[in-house]
Symmetry: C2
Subunit: 146 residues, 2 copies
């Protein structure tokens, strides 16, 4: 079951990496992250550019440059990241893909999906990067595949 695209997944892993390993405002090079997280450097660069354009990150070129969060990790929620990458309507879908599905014209899965979808959205909306960063650095939870 693939809920998030690779682009979203790589974004989230990179951001949590920054939070877990760097002081706020400290630049992290994309090269370092691509190695540590085992993600293609060029692909990660392209993806993070979107986050920079949307002002979630700031970037700086040249030696000791890189990217950094544009605001405290407590103030960036997973939903902010996902909506930039996947689009604003990411959580507005019908499970069966029917246009116009809603309370007035529900598909057979509508009631169930509304509950499940909302639970996911709430979780993403209420989880700041700081929470995941803390777990990774304090409890040594995993961020890469090995």
């Amino acid at each position: 079951m693939k809920v998030l695209s690779k682009a979203s997944v790589y974004s989230l892993r990179a951001l949590v990496y920054i939070v877990a390993h760097k002081q706020h405002g400290e630049y992290v090079s994309i090269g370092e992250m691509s190695k540590e997280l085992d993600i293609s450097f060029h692909f990660l660069t392209k993806i993070l550019q979107q986050l920079t354009q949307e002002k979630l990150l700031v970037s700086y070129r040249g030696p000791r440059g890189g990217v950094a969060l544009n605001k405290p990790a407590e103030e960036i929620f997973l939903i902010d990241v996902v909506k930039i990458i996947e689009g604003e309507h990411f959580f507005d879908t019908c499970l069966l893909g029917l246009p116009g599905c809603g309370a007035s014209e529900p598909c057979p899965m509508h009631a169930f999906w509304t509950v499940a979808r909302t639970a996911m959205e709430q979780e993403f909306a209420n989880t700041p990067l700081s929470e995941l960063g803390a777990k990774v650095s304090e409890d040594r939870l995993r961020l890469s595949g090995w």
Copy 2:
């Protein structure tokens, strides 16, 4: 948020259509369903072949042929359909796509995702086609986009 592939979605809609519109054992032509559900005939044919090969459907060629459920709609659960189309491990995924993610080596989203994923799996495992078919035929819930 795309949870199910088009192939799964089309499968589910077709099966629920059969339940809602036909007697058990009565053949429904794929052509009829492709028109009613606004799904490409050839694509739907290809997808339903998988369900036939896995004995969820039986098919019959020639005039007044088509496909029919191979057992009562009460005994076919959404999870059966989805696992045929998407694969047996559809509900075994990590949200961040990390290999080996599990209780002993969790990713930062593991705890949340385990709960959400299990809820989805339970819903799919406990919902028979008959339930959705009844909703569609009795309460006129929607199955197509218009």
